[in-house]
Point group: C2
Chain length 369, copies 2
């Protein structure tokens, strides 16, 4: 149950004890590091400390009074990131200063405007998170196996980059090095624009409340991101406005083609769906392995306490390894279907074993995961 | 483990033994009905019959040679639905004829063009499905607790409507009566446009393959629908082109506002996200009950056979009922975090029980389900 990540025994200062800062603290302490936490909000700081994320530093502003550190990571709200990085670089509290903001270019630009070319500043962004904020949702495993963009400015030394990469590896995350500009362009595409689209799709329900009764699981998937906080996304989109605008334009152009293609809408739709398949095939498979084909088994479950336990005990007895699972909730009834993904060669054995224990189980189709 | 749906002891003819037709057959036979199946493809027909979905009718075209029926449901690909409905209404093989096409208006119009006002034709659309096709993926529970739109033309008799509603209830689905026009407008909003958006988002990766390495679980959620078959969606969008165009325009207008609002992009984004929250709040909660607040518990699991069984056995021992669960797969490592949703009052008891059994479990935030 413990991480396979390498140890890290340095001294880390984390400024900002929110969801990400606290999760980072938990992960680094698990890896063997010493962590000090700073936050303007004493309540939040106390909660993060009590969760075991590190020792609280009670100074009004983070600086040498907190100690001296190998690395400082700034995990404050987007608009404050650059100013705090500049402050930490000026006071020399840590050998290397990094941050975890969702947008990199504006922070790098602001740091360079204030301080010129800096050797010991390296931007970073763990691509992880949840639709919540605050230390209460923190999780030592949140960063595990997630990509963590490492974005050094041209002036950063190889040693500074290596310092951040070592920390990233210790959390179990996977470092991906690229420039701040490339990061922001790609994130607009895979994160910022999808976020806005999820909100826009969900918002259409407010004009057509009758549609909610006809919304299926696909619509829920497409709008889950819309639960994220408004303030955070306002700041992210603002900070990455040109790239978000370019990505939005590309998306709108694709949709416009479907809308406007009066001569051959069918061709346009078919072409779009085929290109969508090609795009999905580029996503890494489960655990970063190449995409594999799984067979699925659908089992009807009840809501009683213990029904999942009975099901998984019966699965364990069958010796079949469940690779993935998903519960499809159905409106109006206290029942649901659980979809189990297994290796294709295991499907029939599992079906037989479950039927023998009285479960209503049927074979689903094969799918790529 | 059996459905709480009412019995149905009539005689049903299903034309088209794909995923939906076969699932319908399984559900109706479970409810006590007699089912005959027709399909042009003898292989598919044999598979559906062997799955227990009904008796195969080997005629070249469906008609009185198959028997006489209380109800016939046409479950063929979109472009052929209207012609098959007309054929069945002409030959009088069933007292009432329905179908399950994703678009209603064009079918109703075509039937009326051919036959004038018809008393025993009632359109229908179960809002269910999977990202697969064919009888092999069929599931007696697929329709359970899903909304099933019932769309009678003005000429349909109350008896004909009641006949379809009785069948819908027997499958465990929830009948939602509305006009064909209203159905098509609302489905464009909650199904057809989200489908196109998922494809468009996934398609952007083909121009920027480097982005795939930075895609998180949110991007996967937003593109899952893009795995659906191109032919089916081409036909659906073509059949509902005006409503899809109107919904696309509404969505594009929302996104355009973000793109173009140079003076106050932050206000526009904040407003959009807030309206998205309001839209999400309109979605029915789990099992159609009002939305409730759940606490979440995150547990780190390994991929070994039996680890889920051990986890759920330990949960069952704690006496806590798991309301929902989700596995977050992480790229690069054979581990994952499972998120369990429980009643807020149960959270601490579950955390304590799991920690006592050696699980790495932390409290997540509360969330609406």
């Amino acid at each position: 149950m413990t991480a396979a990540a390498p140890p890290w025994t340095g001294r880390l200062l984390i400024v900002g004890a929110g969801l990400m800062g606290t999760s980072l603290g938990l992960a680094v302490r698990r890896a063997g590091g010493t962590v000090h936490l700073h936050d303007r909000d004493p309540e939040r700081l106390r909660l993060a400390e009590s969760l075991g994320a590190g020792e609280a530093c009670a100074q009004a502003t983070p600086g040498p009074a907190c100690g001296s550190f190998d690395l400082a990571v700034v995990a404050v709200p987007p608009r404050q990131v650059a100013a705090v990085c500049v402050e930490l670089l000026r006071c020399g509290v840590a050998d290397v200063v990094s941050h975890i903001a969702s947008v990199q270019t504006n922070v790098q630009d602001e740091v360079e405007t204030e301080l010129g070319a800096v050797a010991n500043f390296v931007g970073g962004h763990p691509v992880a998170g949840r639709e919540t904020t605050g230390p209460a949702g923190a999780d030592a495993g949140l960063l595990h196996a997630r990509p963590w963009a490492v974005c050094p400015p041209p002036s950063a030394t190889p040693d500074a980059v290596e310092a951040l990469v070592g920390l990233v590896r210790a959390t179990g995350a996977v470092p991906v090095q690229l420039t701040a500009r490339a990061h922001d362009d790609l994130l607009a595409l895979v994160s910022h624009v999808p976020q806005l689209v999820a909100s826009a799709l969900a918002a259409t329900l407010t004009d057509h409340p009758g549609a909610a009764a006809l919304a299926g699981p696909g619509f829920r998937d497409m709008t889950r991101l819309a639960d994220s906080p408004a303030q955070m996304w306002t700041e992210i989109v603002e900070a990455n406005a040109p790239a978000v605008r370019a990505s939005l334009e590309a998306l709108i152009a694709q949709l416009d083609r479907i809308r406007g293609d009066a001569d051959a809408p069918a061709d346009a739709v078919g072409d779009l769906v085929e290109r969508g398949h090609a795009g999905r095939a580029l996503l890494p498979g489960k655990h970063g392995r190449p995409v594999r084909v799984w067979a699925s088994v659908l089992v009807v479950i009840t809501d009683e306490p213990g029904s999942l336990a009975r099901l998984f005990a019966d699965i364990a007895d069958s010796g079949v390894n469940v690779e993935d699972l998903r519960i499809e909730h159905a409106p109006g009834q206290p029942r649901g279907a659980i979809e189990l993904a297994v290796a294709p060669g295991d499907r029939d054995r599992l079906l037989e074993a479950l039927a023998g224990r009285g479960w209503s189980a049927v074979a689903g189709a094969e799918a790529q995961r």
